[in-house]
């Protein structure tokens, strides 16, 4: 199969993707049942602590997503292949979703526990800063239409942003620790074995969900790139699938190659 045809084949939802989706949903349902019904109430927080089973996996996914952005960004800078940039962009988008979710869930959990919606808890504050950094990442992607420039600029943000997170976390934690809070921290739940098991199931379910979301988002990314390539191809003298295949696999070199490609393609198809 030529690269172009292989590329086109990945545009339709393959059965694998659908199965992944149903599996993720099933895992999430199982996790929800365990979290809401099977797991017992907490000694200190009562039933409210159950928000931990969605808040913690969300936070885990946020960090996982941004780690993927970090690795994909490095890979893109080193190889120049657009597929790495697509991976980074997809993971960043999903990461922003889960980061925002983590903050909201943390706030909802905090209201009954702390009495207020927000208390500058170090982990939540760090998460808020992370959200801002990656919203910045997505904003940088809007600065240029040139896919390579856009990818490179975004990659720099993806790399520096991730490297900064530990330093930010440390600084906010030290900043906070000067003021000892008498009330319990969000994470302070004495974990019975069944709780730990439930949490692990939830984390696994969310991870499965991440894989599904990435699969779906990558496909949508390819579809959107194809739409752009189709719009550009008359101007660049290349067939859309050749444009896409070139960007997907070829790497270096500008998108606007001379129309030599057109001849062999045309004769092969004739």
């Amino acid at each position: 199969m030529r690269p172009a045809e292989r590329m086109m084949g990945r545009l339709a939802a393959r059965p694998g993707e659908r199965i992944l989706g149903w599996l993720a949903m099933g895992a999430l349902a199982a996790a929800a049942i365990m979290a809401l019904v099977v797991a017992p109430d907490d000694a200190q927080q009562g039933t409210v602590y159950r928000l931990m089973y969605v808040h913690v996996p969300s936070a885990w996914l946020a960090y996982l997503s941004f780690f993927v952005v970090f690795v994909a960004s490095i890979a893109f800078l080193k190889t120049g292949k657009i597929r790495w940039d697509r991976l980074a962009a997809s993971s960043a988008e999903i990461g922003v979703l889960f980061t925002a979710l983590t903050i909201v869930l943390g706030s909802v959990w905090g209201k009954p526990v702390w009495g207020t919606w927000w208390t500058w808890d170090p982990r939540l504050t760090t998460t808020a800063l992370m959200l801002l950094i990656y919203v910045g990442y997505l904003a940088v992607r809007k600065l240029s239409d040139n896919p390579r420039r856009r990818g490179r600029w975004a990659a720099v943000v993806g790399i520096v942003g991730f490297a900064d997170i530990p330093v930010v976390q440390l600084s906010v934690t030290w900043w906070r620790s000067l003021h000892q809070q008498p009330s319990f921290q969000l994470g302070h739940v004495t974990m019975a074995p069944i709780m730990t098991a439930t949490l692990l199931v939830a984390v696994a379910a969310f991870t499965l969900l991440y894989v599904y979301l990435m699969s779906l988002r990558l496909r949508v990314g390819r579809l959107e790139e194809r739409a752009v390539a189709t719009a550009l191809s008359p101007r660049l003298g290349q067939r859309p699938d050749a444009l896409i295949a070139e960007m997907d696999g070829a790497g270096q070199g500008s998108v606007a190659e001379p129309a030599e490609e057109l001849e062999p393609e045309a004769t092969r198809r004739a």
Binding site: L143, V160, A163, W174, L178
Partner: protein, 224 residues
């Protein structure tokens, strides 16, 4: 030309442009001063409150000044297409980065001396306490801010809607500088509130991180 020479040359060029144009003194300094007066007005005339918040307000003013100075460092290039000339020159891209960062840091440090005297007056903040520590905090913090600004300022050269993107990037990334700078300043000026060592250490860690990362990725930003 050795790497150090290249950086020095870039820094020298940027500083010469500043001396001739006087942007930092002419526009950024008045902006910082306006900001401080606005802070004073918005927080009310209670002297005690102002005194306690002074380190924070000081560093916020420095942060905004850093954004403006970094932006300016690249505007002067893109205006005459000088950036292309810089790219074509056989200069190590990392040397350009460090040179630009050094120039921005130098401008900010001069600015900070003036701004600190302003804050001292406006908010009754006594600077005497631990001067070496105060200086260390500002030198290290400024280096970090210049490191971030010189890196992402290169993005700013795009014509499109960059007005909000650059500050959006700088502020969260520079959080450790803000937090550590404010804490160190508060401890150095009041003599109480914790150990300076950890905050200075944090500033050093941030500086190392940003300068190392910036040196490695800067070249990719300029490509194209």
């Amino acid at each position: 030309m050795t790497f150090l020479r290249q950086s020095a040359a870039v820094a020298g060029k940027d500083l010469r442009i500043e001396v001739r144009g006087r942007y930092a003194l002419g526009a950024v300094l008045p902006f910082a001063a306006t900001l401080l007066v606005a802070f004073g007005l918005s927080l009310g005339p209670d002297r005690v409150l102002l005194q306690r918040t002074a380190p924070g307000l000081l560093w916020l003013a420095v942060l905004f000044a850093a954004v403006l100075a970094s932006r300016r460092a690249y505007e002067s290039e893109s205006e005459d297409g000088a950036l292309e000339g810089l790219l074509l020159a056989p200069v190590d891209k990392a040397a350009v980065y460090l040179g630009k960062a050094a120039a921005v840091a130098a401008q900010l440090l001069v600015l900070e001396v003036i701004v600190m005297t302003l804050v001292s007056a406006l908010f009754s903040l006594s600077l005497g306490g631990n001067l070496p520590a105060l200086a260390a905090a500002f030198v290290l913090g400024t280096t970090g801010l210049a490191g971030v600004g010189a890196l992402f300022g290169a993005l700013d050269a795009s014509a499109r809607a960059r007005e909000a993107v650059f500050p959006l990037l700088v502020l969260p990334l520079a959080t450790p500088v803000l937090v550590a700078g404010v804490k160190a300043t508060a401890i150095a000026t009041s003599g109480t509130g914790g150990t300076l060592g950890s905050w200075i250490g944090l500033l050093v860690a941030f500086d190392l991180m940003i300068l190392a990362a910036g040196t490695l990725v800067y070249g990719y930003l300029l490509e194209d």
